[in-house]
């Protein structure tokens, strides 16, 4: 009996000894495995889809935005696909691209909605599938996106509106060329400009919408000038409307008589600025916008703090400051050049 008891006790201590060492090894193994998993998690490649308003590669704004998003993607190890149509007013086309993107089940979708409402159901569907949605440049009426990254359009509008006041006197008349009626950017910019203009707001004679085509902006401007020949300030609400209107003013031979301010930049728009057809332009920071949108998306996926609205900033450029280095860099993006 005694011997057996001794034996069992011996076995017990052996088990305790081996057990404690095994336990130690197991703990170390788990630690190593955990490190490995964490490392894998860190190296995990996310998949994002970017749907800009247009893929038109003549449009400096959108090519820069895409470029910024790509830089962000490379920074955060993201596989970025870019889908889109070639026209900003192709709402149906964008919805179709969005639906296709949802089928790919990406981790995140960054979209610049062409419509404040029509695209909402599809975005809801994406959100239900657990896809993080970041809105860029423009917003929609419902609060679906985890974050909105855009220029503070209202603020930019106020800025250019206030600048424009120096070009005006009590006899002035103002014409506005917008891009797409009802789109958030157009609404906000117009509201900002009206605020910035202050008492000159009542001088606005007409607001026309060109559906983001140069041709329509051109013809609408010519028609508007026929209707209101007294107009001496034209405000363009985006690149298409500003450039289209500028072409019209140049072709009408009214350069110097009609002042112009506008949004966005392109080589042509910059040339108009150099040629004194534009007095000032507000440029956004599309590269920043694209980059920040990706950053917000990855933050949301990693459970970090996400801001519901990020202002990517805007700068007012006139002939006086356009040759400054920092403005040159914004006016002529390094990337996105042919």
């Amino acid at each position: 009996m005694k011997e057996r008891k001794d034996m069992s006790r011996k076995v017990k201590t052996n088990i305790i000894g081996i057990g404690s060492i095994l336990l130690f090894l197991i703990v170390m193994g788990i630690y190593a495995f955990g490190e490995y998993r964490q490392e894998n998690e860190r190296n995990r490649e996310y998949h994002f889809v970017l749907i800009p308003k247009t893929l038109d590669n003549l449009n400096g704004f959108w090519t820069s935005l895409i470029e910024g998003a790509k830089l962000g993607a490379s920074e955060y190890n993201i596989n970025l696909s870019v889908y889109g149509t070639y026209s900003e007013d192709d709402i149906k086309g964008q919805i179709e691209k969005l639906e296709n993107a949802i089928l790919e089940e990406p981790d995140g979708i960054i979209i610049a909605p062409t419509s404040t409402e029509e695209i909402t159901p599809s975005l809801k569907k994406a959100k239900e599938k657990g896809i993080e949605i970041v809105l860029v440049d423009s917003t929609i009426t419902e609060d679906i996106g985890v974050s909105l990254v855009s220029t503070d359009n209202y603020k930019a509008g106020v800025n250019i509106g206030q600048y424009a006041k120096r070009l005006l006197d009590e006899d002035s008349q103002i014409g506005m060329v917008g891009h797409i009626k009802g789109v958030s950017t157009a609404v906000e910019r117009e509201a900002g400009m009206r605020e910035g203009l202050g008492e000159f707001e009542e001088k606005i004679r007409e607001v026309v919408f060109c559906d983001s085509t140069y041709e329509k902006a051109y013809s609408l401007t010519i028609e508007m000038m026929e209707r209101y020949p007294e107009i001496d300030l034209i405000m363009g609400l985006n690149e298409y409307s500003a450039v289209g209107a500028a072409r019209a003013i140049r072709d009408l031979g009214l350069a110097g008589q009609v002042n112009m301010v506008g949004f966005d930049s392109s080589i042509e728009e910059i040339q108009f600025l150099e040629q004194n057809i534009f007095d000032a332009i507000i440029i956004q920071k599309p590269v920043n916008m694209g980059y920040l949108a990706v950053e917000q998306g990855i933050k949301a996926l990693q459970g970090k703090n996400v801001e519901s609205y990020v202002d990517s900033g805007s700068v007012l450029i006139n002939r006086g400051n356009m040759y400054l280095d920092e403005n040159q860099r914004l006016l002529y993006p390094v990337s996105g050049q042919e």
């Binding site: 201590t13 090894l25 170390m28 193994g29 190593a32 910024g68 830089l71 390094v334």
Partner: protein, 599 residues
């Protein structure tokens, strides 16, 4: 004292030497391996770090060399044009005829065209005079109306620099309106051959891509990159230039420009960046390689994993081996322990331990074996001595003659003499005389059965005469056993018992029968009476140590029994059968052969 008890308590937890050894070996191994692992890991990390720095620095040197040779080829082109007489002649001579001037211009333009067509990395090529004359590209392009080329820094430094040759940082070329491209301008001062002074600039705009391609060709790790700074710390090229311009990304340019070390570690945010730079003597540019520490760490994690795995397997092996080895080492100890338990129980025969090793344990085992043997011998001697002592005691007892018996017999003789029964007197007296002679004369412990029976016969003769009406007896001994020795006075006490407890108390005359024979290889003598018999209870206590009854022979049944067993072993001795009213049978069993006797 206290320290000793403390020391003990560490190992007290383990009940066996084997587990103590095993656990302590394993713990030591784990400790040793952890230390080794730590050293190995930190060394590997350092080596990986140094290798990476070395690789990055060779990449940056490579990029720098590529850029230098690229710039050199451009310089050669520039030199050919700038040093040619046509350019100087076209820009600075006013006397020439318009026709000749046009001709000269055409020659220069075609030269420009040839250069531009052969190199698609040149975006602009132009010669500009301070006097306002210029040729740009195909001769059709104009300089911008809004930007004065003479105010451009690169234009001014070209004229003022000692070498007359400048490579600009990357910038937007806005003196030529149609392009607005990011370029690097290589400019060379033009000397007016007539005055010998620098009065113009020839420049070639190199596509920004030509430089970025040189940098992008090299990848450092999965996230690392190469960028270029000019001598003032301005960014010439950076893969994420646009983010830097947008304020979204910064590099620690100040530190990079100031440092002379071969590498700089910049710990910003959650990842640190290692910069390695290489400065070109030709351009003055610094090519900087940026490596992410996390990239290094990725390989490091793999190494760690492999090390951990190897350690895990090694430890598992060590555990198994140490368990095996400690078992082997402690095997003799365990055998000794088992053997000691046997010795504790007095089983000396199996206690001998096989000597396996020649070490301390071997000699310990040997000593143990010798010791147990000696103990065994001592114990046997002791037993023997004790036995002898008992025998002597018993012998002393048996030698005594019961005085009551003598008295009674003598009384009977007197009584018979008075009754003039001469024959009976003679018979009894002679029987008594023989009895006494036998009892006294023989000094030996053993007598033959014949002699013992003779003694009993004499005793019975006397007793029969005393209890004439009470008993009769009969003796039948197998002649084969007559010579067999038996201890002295073995049978007589049994006979005496039969008479006193069986026959004497019986009302009628009893009969006593003594039969000797061989059964099962042993000799036996049976003493059977038809007396009153015994109760079962009495029978059970028959061998108990009774009080000596001096009225009868002093030697009791239990005494006889003990002597028999002492002499012949436990297998031999007296056995009783008895039934109340029928009689009692006592049976003595002794071995035939002397060799079988217990010593």
């Amino acid at each position: 004292m206290k320290r000793e008890s403390l020391k003990k308590s560490i190992f007290r937890k383990f009940r066996s030497t084997q587990s103590t050894m095993m656990v302590s070996f394993s713990l030591l191994m784990v400790l040793a391996m952890l230390i080794f692992l730590f050293i190995a890991l930190s060394h590997t990390k350092n080596v990986a770090f140094e290798n990476s720095v070395e690789a990055t620095s060779s990449i940056t040197k490579q990029v720098n060399d590529n850029i230098d040779s690229y710039i050199e080829s451009m310089e050669n082109i520039a030199a050919v044009v700038a040093n040619g007489s046509e350019v100087s002649a076209y820009l600075f001579s006013n006397e020439e005829a318009a026709e000749e001037e046009q001709l000269n211009k055409n020659r220069i333009v075609s030269q420009f065209e040839t250069i531009k067509n052969s190199r698609d990395d040149i975006s602009n090529i132009a010669a500009v005079g301070n006097n306002g004359k210029y040729i740009v590209n195909d001769g059709q392009d104009t300089l911008s109306d809004y930007v004065n080329i003479k105010n451009q820094r690169w234009y001014q430094t070209t004229l003022s620099s000692r070498s007359g040759q400048v490579i600009s940082s990357s910038h937007v070329q806005n003196v030529i309106p149609s392009s607005y491209k990011w370029v690097i301008t290589l400019s060379k001062a033009l000397i007016n051959n007539q005055t010998g002074k620098r009065e113009g600039v020839f420049f070639v705009d190199l596509n920004y891509e030509s430089i970025s391609d040189l940098c992008n060709r090299n990848r450092i790790g999965s996230k690392g990159y190469v960028f270029i700074l000019d001598e003032l710390g301005n960014v010439v090229y950076h893969p994420k230039q646009q983010l830097m311009y947008g304020g979204l990304k910064t590099e620690n340019i100040d530190q990079i420009m100031r440092s002379d070390a071969s590498y700089i570690i910049n710990e910003s945010g959650d990842d640190s960046i290692i910069y390695t730079k290489s400065i070109s003597a030709k351009t003055g540019w610094s090519v900087v390689g940026a490596t992410y520490a996390s990239d290094l760490l990725k390989n490091n994690t793999q190494t760690q994993l492999i090390y951990f795995l190897a350690m895990f397997l090694l430890l598992a092996g060590v555990l198994i081996l140490s368990s095996f080895i400690s078992r082997e080492i402690t095997k003799p100890i365990r055998e000794l322990k088992d053997s000691m338990i046997l010795v504790e129980r007095g089983q000396f025969e199996q206690a001998n331990v096989e000597v396996i090793a020649n070490n301390e344990l071997g000699s310990l085992t040997k000593s143990f074996n010798i010791m147990t043997e000696r103990i065994q011998n001592l114990m046997e001697e002791n037993v023997h001595e004790q036995k002898e002592k008992r025998k002597n005691e018993l012998k002393a007892l048996q030698a005594q003659i019961n005085p009551h018996f003598l008295y009674n017999t003598l009384d009977s003789i007197i009584w018979m003499s008075e009754a003039k029964k001469n024959e009976e007197v003679v018979l009894m007296t002679s029987a008594l005389a023989r009895l006494f002679r036998q009892a006294i004369s023989n000094d030996k412990e053993e007598v033959s059965i014949r002699e013992e029976i003779e003694y009993v016969k004499n005793y019975l003769t006397i007793q029969k005469m005393r209890y004439k009406d009470k008993m009769d007896f009969e003796i039948q001994i197998d002649p084969r056993i007559e010579g067999i020795p038996i201890i002295k006075f073995a049978v007589q006490p049994l006979v005496e018992n039969s008479i006193y407890h069986g026959l004497k108390v019986k009302d009628t005359k009893g009969n006593l029968q003594i039969i000797g024979g061989i059964e099962g290889g042993n000799a036996y003598i049976e003493i059977e009476d038809n007396g009153v018999g015994m109760e079962k209870e009495t029978l059970e206590h028959i061998f108990d140590d009774q009080k000596k009854d001096y009225k009868r022979n002093g030697v009791g049944v239990n005494n006889v029994q003990r002597r028999l067993k002492l002499y012949y072993g436990e297998a031999y001795g007296i056995s009783y059968e008895s039934k109340v009213g029928i009689g009692t049978k006592a049976r003595i069993c002794v071995p035939i052969e002397r060799e079988k006797r217990y010593e």
